[in-house]
């Protein structure tokens, strides 16, 4: 028997939940993998190349800035990997790779490290990257190519391999050649500019044109449920974003169903489902207070519908979430939880 053991000293608590940041982030990556596979199946090697490029750009940028600032390398927390994957999912599948690299660099450099790295970003970094290329390359980011093209596993979409600072090859002719009568318009663009509604079922399954990983609402939901089941995704954010979208869309729909799209169309089209499950739920840039979370979600949903219906663009979800991110400190300020046993003003 050791008469005088070495005593370790540490304050309480002495036990800890097994959940760590690294574990949460790793599982978000796992949850994104089915979407990656689906998008590659849908759009072929161009999508794969784009995903690889944006992810490597994010990892490289994170690494570079860690080295420049003399801090420990933070690649192992998987957050830069997530940003890279999220970014690729929101870009058109034929997006030129060099622009993807620019988006990845901006996402990490201006969306994350500029604010102090993980935990300090005001906005979702992936959306900062996307917003930058939206402004810088307005044509490329609204050029859509057909899903399920027959030669998608052997041939790149012509625009993918564009050289830096060169005009990307036009894809309209290429697309028309592959799919007869391809319009190059996403369901949202069809709705907005031509008044044509895509049926909810194909939107739900995701067999439509659109951004690389945003098309299948069903798959996104399944991945989301996995994270919620592991308690790594706060269900309240997607739920309130979807509710906010549906409620706002419903008001317009019931006002004039012939002119405005149905709530189901609004929920299942564009980046809404992806934004609700994976983008708005970025923990760092969304509120922590219970009431604040719902207000944030409803705000994002509301803004999405308003921008889609009355804005000049179809990329409503991105701007709605960025706006929601910006409003987060304000929302938190006014939604601090009421504590146990709080006294009314007069008796304290």
């Amino acid at each position: 028997m050791a008469k005088h053991p070495l005593i370790d000293l540490r304050p309480s608590p002495y036990i800890h939940s097994p959940l760590t940041v690294e574990k949460i982030m790793r599982n978000v990556v796992y949850a994104l993998l089915p979407l990656v596979v689906f998008s590659v199946w849908q759009f072929g090697i161009s999508a794969l190349a784009l995903i690889i490029v944006t992810t490597l750009a994010c990892l490289g940028t994170e690494s570079l800035f860690c080295r420049l600032s003399g801090k420990a390398n933070t690649l192992k927390d998987y957050s830069a990997t997530i940003t890279g994957l999220l970014l690729a999912m929101t870009l058109p599948p034929g997006f030129p790779l060099w622009m993807g690299a620019v988006a990845g660099f901006v996402a990490i450099a201006m969306g994350k490290t500029l604010f102090g790295g993980i935990g300090f970003n005001v906005f979702n970094p992936a959306l900062v990257g996307r917003a930058f290329v939206q402004a810088a390359f307005p044509v490329a980011i609204t050029t859509w190519t057909p899903a399920l093209a027959p030669n998608r596993f052997v041939e790149f979409i012509p625009s993918t391999l564009a050289l830096p600072f060169m005009k990307p090859a036009a894809t309209a002719e290429w697309s028309a050649h592959i799919v007869d009568g391809f319009s190059g318009a996403t369901p949202l663009a069809l709705m907005k500019f031509q008044g044509i509604m895509t049926d909810s079922q194909s939107l739900f399954l995701g067999l439509t044109e659109g951004s690389t990983g945003e098309t299948s609402a069903l798959l996104i939901l399944l991945c989301g449920f996995y994270l919620m089941w592991r308690k790594m995704l706060d269900w309240r954010i997607p739920a309130s974003v979807i509710f906010g979208t549906a409620a706002t869309a419903a008001v317009f729909y019931f006002y004039d169903p012939s002119h405005y799209p149905s709530p189901a169309f609004m929920i299942f089209s564009g980046g809404l489902m992806f934004g609700a499950v994976f983008m708005a739920s970025d923990m760092v840039a969304s509120p922590v207070t219970p009431l604040g979370i719902f207000i944030f979600g409803l705000l994002v949903g509301f803004l999405t519908v308003i921008i889609r219906l009355f804005g000049g663009l179809t990329e409503a979800v991105m701007y709605a979430i960025l706006f929601g991110n910006a409003a987060t400190p304000l929302i938190e300020r006014y939604t601090q939880p009421s504590i146990y046993g709080a006294r009314k003003k007069e008796d304290s």
Partner: protein, 448 residues
């Protein structure tokens, strides 16, 4: 437990579900350990003013004799000799909170039969509330659940307050500890008598024993032995940490909240731990003082973990020897793994409010790097008081201790540690809050 019970089981919002680790000792009957060679009795084993020694070095004292009297006109209780023997010294000795505290050290007389002194039998049913409260004070009893608040003081009420219900806390929500579990199985008569004494002292109409539903055998053992008048009930509450915090238990059982930074008596309640009331039921009729208590000795590297009766003041070294500690290196904790105190010296004694001695080696959580807060809000979902630990932690980082107190209710935190337990960034939130509170107190003193 039926399906219906599952849906309507009594509980409070938030909290956490750490592993219980109670199976190590929960089925072990309470045993008495041999008397230690020496006991160390700090003069302040309770919240309030330290007791004042009335013995001198070399004096022979008998087990159960008063050796320090309560400070006058203050919140204070007497200290009794926990062994018969001679006073070795009255000096600064290692205390449970880390710093040295003034203590009376007694060398045990090996030839003494160690029978505690007792007074003439008194029947509490014929005593007035004032007499009962005074006698409770003479027993030296304090909250044995860990807080150490003098028990008599809970029964002394300002004129404008009265107590209708006594809440008996049998939750024992700290992982590892099984002291209260064993008391509720083995000392039912003492416990019920103690509850009746407390009810009489404050003229309470009824009493509810709250037990976590991981101890349903206790519920079954107690229920048939409750008095027929129905004034004492027993209720199961959800097994969840920190169910045993009085604020949480009151919310679970009655659905009401103790006002912020107030006492349960503000809403007509008094909360006692089962161990405290069982001792009250045993000591008061015989006019005895508190000289021993039951502790759980558990954790890693122990050949003989168990629930043991030890004299108050027993040094940890004796307890580790008796439980056959075999390790080379460990964390030694007074209390449970969530709120327990770390000890640096094996000379540290078990005091009145020590519920357990926990040894952590393999089970110990190895501290990892502290990462930035990612605002996952898990701490907000864990905090039983509904604070915003995330924001408090960020403020502590910036040393905005004043803002923490004025705008974010720092002083409502009772340091249960649930936020630190869940934090995926390993931020020692509750430690930050303890530091902030201490610095705020110092600042307030400096500012007058």
């Amino acid at each position: 437990m039926g399906l219906l019970d599952f849906f309507i089981r009594k509980t409070f919002p938030h909290g956490i579900h750490p592993p219980e680790y109670k199976s190590i000792t929960q089925h072990k009957k309470t045993l008495r350990l041999p008397f230690p060679e020496r006991v160390i009795l700090p003069l302040a084993q309770h919240i309030g003013a330290p007791a004042i020694p009335i013995v001198h070095k070399g004096q022979y004292v008998v087990r159960g004799e008063v050796i320090a009297e309560p400070a006058e006109n203050a919140l204070s209780v007497p200290i009794h000799a926990s062994v018969s023997g001679s006073v070795r010294e009255i000096d600064l000795m290692p205390g449970p909170k880390g710093s040295k505290v003034m203590s009376i050290v007694i060398d045990t007389d090996p030839s003494s039969p160690q029978i505690p002194v007792s007074g003439e039998y008194q029947d509490y049913t014929r005593m007035t509330p004032e007499q009962i409260i005074n006698e409770v004070k003479q027993t030296g009893l304090v909250g044995l659940g860990g807080a150490g608040f003098p028990s008599y003081a809970k029964m002394l009420l300002p004129k404008d307050r009265s107590i209708h219900t006594i809440i008996v806390n049998g939750c024992e929500c700290e992982p590892f500890l099984t002291t209260d579990h064993r008391i509720m199985l083995e000392k039912v008569d003492d416990l019920i008598r103690g509850i009746q004494i407390a009810m009489k002292a404050v003229s309470a109409e009824r009493s509810i024993i709250g037990i976590e539903d991981n101890k349903l055998e206790v519920l079954e053992a107690i229920s048939p032995r409750l008095p027929a008048d129905g004034r004492i009930q027993v209720e199961a509450v959800e097994t969840k940490y920190p169910q045993g915090a009085e604020k949480m238990l009151v919310k679970s059982l009655l659905g009401v909240e103790i006002p912020s930074r107030g006492l349960p008596s503000e809403i007509g309640l008094a909360v006692f731990n089962v161990a405290t009331l069982a001792e009250m039921g045993r000591l008061l009729p015989n006019r005895q003082g508190l000289v021993e208590r039951i502790i759980t000795v558990t954790g890693d590297d122990l050949a003989k973990p168990g629930n043991y009766v030890v004299p108050v003041g027993t040094p940890l070294q004796d307890i580790l020897d008796q439980a056959d500690f075999t390790g080379q290196e460990a964390e030694i904790i007074l209390g449970g793994p969530m709120m327990g105190l770390p000890v640096a010296s094996l000379e540290t004694p078990v005091t009145k409010s020590t519920g357990g001695v926990l040894i952590l080696d393999q089970h110990a959580y190895k501290p990892k790097d502290i990462l930035p807060c990612i605002k996952c809000s898990l701490c907000l979902q864990a905090c039983p008081i509904n604070l915003n630990p995330s924001e408090l932690g960020l403020l502590a980082d910036k040393r905005r201790y004043d803002v923490m107190e004025e705008q974010y209710h720092l002083n409502d935190c009772f340091e249960c540690g649930a936020c630190s337990y869940v934090c995926p960034s390993n931020i020692p939130l509750v430690q930050y809050f303890k530091i902030a509170k201490t610095l705020n107190r110092e600042r307030h003193i400096q500012n007058g």
